[in-house]
Symmetry: C2
Subunit: 479 residues, 2 copies
Amino acid sequence: MFDSPASQPSSQPPLNRPGPEQLEELRARLGDPRKVTTGRAAREHHSRDFSYHPPHLPDAVVYPESTADVQAVLEWAARHRVAVVPFGVGSSLEGHTVPLAGGISLDLTRMDAILEVRPEDFLVRVQPGITRSRLNQRLAREGLFFPVDPGADATIGGMIANNASGTSAVRYGAMKHQVLGLEVVLAGGRVLRTGSRAVKSSAGYNLTALFVGSEGTLGVVTEAILRIYPLPEFVLAARASFPDVEAAARVAVALIRAGVPVARVELVDAATIRAVNGYKGTAYPERPTLFLEFAGTEAAVREEVALARELAALEDAVDFTFETDPAAREKLWEARHQAALAIAAAAPGRRMMATDVCVPLSQLPASIRFARQVAEEHGLEAAVLGHVGDGNYHVTFMVDPEDPAEVARAEAVNRRIVEDALARGGTCTGEHGVGMGKIRYLVAEHGEEGVRWMRSLKAMLDPLGILNPGKVVAPAGQA
Amino acid sequence: MFDSPASQPSSQPPLNRPGPEQLEELRARLGDPRKVTTGRAAREHHSRDFSYHPPHLPDAVVYPESTADVQAVLEWAARHRVAVVPFGVGSSLEGHTVPLAGGISLDLTRMDAILEVRPEDFLVRVQPGITRSRLNQRLAREGLFFPVDPGADATIGGMIANNASGTSAVRYGAMKHQVLGLEVVLAGGRVLRTGSRAVKSSAGYNLTALFVGSEGTLGVVTEAILRIYPLPEFVLAARASFPDVEAAARVAVALIRAGVPVARVELVDAATIRAVNGYKGTAYPERPTLFLEFAGTEAAVREEVALARELAALEDAVDFTFETDPAAREKLWEARHQAALAIAAAAPGRRMMATDVCVPLSQLPASIRFARQVAEEHGLEAAVLGHVGDGNYHVTFMVDPEDPAEVARAEAVNRRIVEDALARGGTCTGEHGVGMGKIRYLVAEHGEEGVRWMRSLKAMLDPLGILNPGKVVAPAGQA
């Protein structure tokens, strides 16, 4: 349990840790010593992500300011056989940014420019270090927005790296649906450009798709061309409570079935609402609750909400409240936003573990019930949050990374939930990615053949194994 | 010009043509002699596609009936180093199904089962030989449909192979957005399963996306899990004529900008309407014309149409007619449906060449005007049809494949249109795929680095170069 995957394929010689001389050479190459630091605080900040996965210090943190800088780092890293781990804001949840083999944490936050905004083409070209909130601030001036919302204010580069999605995916899809093209610096320093500014293409193999979700293990994204969308004219948020998880899920499916382009549809289970009430002193009905958002023209939204009310009434919803004012909408969604925090607040000093299975829609209620039961059997205080229009949900709990028994118990819960989801035709991770935490499930999900080809892709694009070693694909014989 | 690409990478020994003994061995392996034919009629039917690309006879046509049959064929083909070219209904437009190196045409139409229909999960599992119309007949019973509509009644396998899209892509996306998982038989006969029944996943590299659009050059798809959608409650078709292409395109963009989820928005240029009038004896206004379809709840559709009328009026639309009855809708779209036929009817015995560039939306009017001008300079009768919500359009003309001067002239037109589109940030093919016809543009579009990695992917998955040789990637030194 929690055996850290080896840092490079076993057929490779071990990676090197860069010494002062090599780092001096890198500083000289980058032309500005402030682009490379070995300071303890910076290294600690770059030793982990937001999760319970154990930290590991990089030997240095490098702050490139251009594609040429990234090329220089990767050329240098290949020559010295040093690991490079791309880093955005460190909000990943499976240890993606942990530099397991030391080496360089490549902090891309200085490459945060919006290079091109083309409102009439519904696309934007950005550097990877920009956060989604900053991008959306800029796009709002054009009446446009970038829809993918994973919760955290992640960088676009990080969101590409793990194919993020979140609450709006039910309407707009995941990152892979938004990325039209990429500039990627490959292991060794060459630059690959994929895709174009056209929204459709059948011009050869889909290299873009190969990098979206590759978690920094196949190359470093230095630019992305993204689709953007008009801000809806009218937005309405709603909340309704149900007798059980099945009833709530049935309403979500019925809405989709009726062709309603629901903007968000989130499920929070009864025990989680209870935790929120305890944490915030609120009095939400302690029942499975749907949080909904509708967006479009006012007439269409009003019609959709009327339909949602009818469907909810058929399933004995005990209340159905809605708001159109932005502040009131925010307040109405508060229990959803607070759910994970309520769990976190009860466990100071602990770190987050979140399951992330995604199952066929019809399997969601049974999958959630199973997960809740397993968590309770193991005595874990857990929030259950579901992206119920996609069949993706999270069981979120806090663990003490220093307590091996507690970690083992949490991991056992995670494993049972994953195994159950795979048996239902689902996936071990709907949106958080593989990182370190899900490597152990990839063979169960994709078979030996699938993992073998993933390893071949890794070997093709990163023959020295220096890009984010120990993530996504385990060395042969370990998965 | 029209130099046929070599049939395998130059570093490979040439492929073999299977003799009677080898074919007898294959018949024995497949257990039923009727699965393998060398009859002239079958071989001729499988020698070409729907386009002007010169035919080439396969040595035999094989009709597998199961994944195990496909495995047997690919295992046999690897052993004897014989080319295998998957074939659906032969409706491709860039020579995809032409067996350039002879060998086997693998006709998948007997593998046409619908293996699983899961209405509550909005997904279906099918074999590759089923056509989209047959799939939709079955799904209609559930009030569901599969949206991708490339015009031809292609097989799902063929549509996966070239990442087809068509008129409904503006709302639903292309094939790559619909495919959740695949079963693929790889060169040599091993079976790879990708994806799952979950609508979202971040579980490792996106192997599914590698095969969608790979045109039978990386493996043979034997099963696919596809997303399906509720049939809209209410559908309305509309047609409007405009003073110029720019005005029509502006209306399309304004609709998208207003957040209208338009179901289809197609542009036909003035010269094409004129050809239709000449062919059908109709009297449509000989102006650039938008064909629109709106779908959803009746109230939403009525609101969308009202907005479309307003936007069209602002651009001096000379008429705006609409219909809700299915037969009348069909009639209203008739000029759109007849456009290519009108050109074809004027050129008996000739074969179709269709350009397929896709450009950023704002570039579409200028791209279409340029293309029309080039076609007229070369004295070509051409239909111009645009998927104007995606920036993708076709200039369709008929050529005599036996007349090298005519073919060269048509190809010169094609080349100028592609070069112009690439300069505008577009792609050489929005939906038809590369086949034989677009190989020559891939370096201009993707750069040497991009094509080099496509070649590496091909070499990784098909080291003997037996899968649809001469398509998508040219041997090194030829692109």
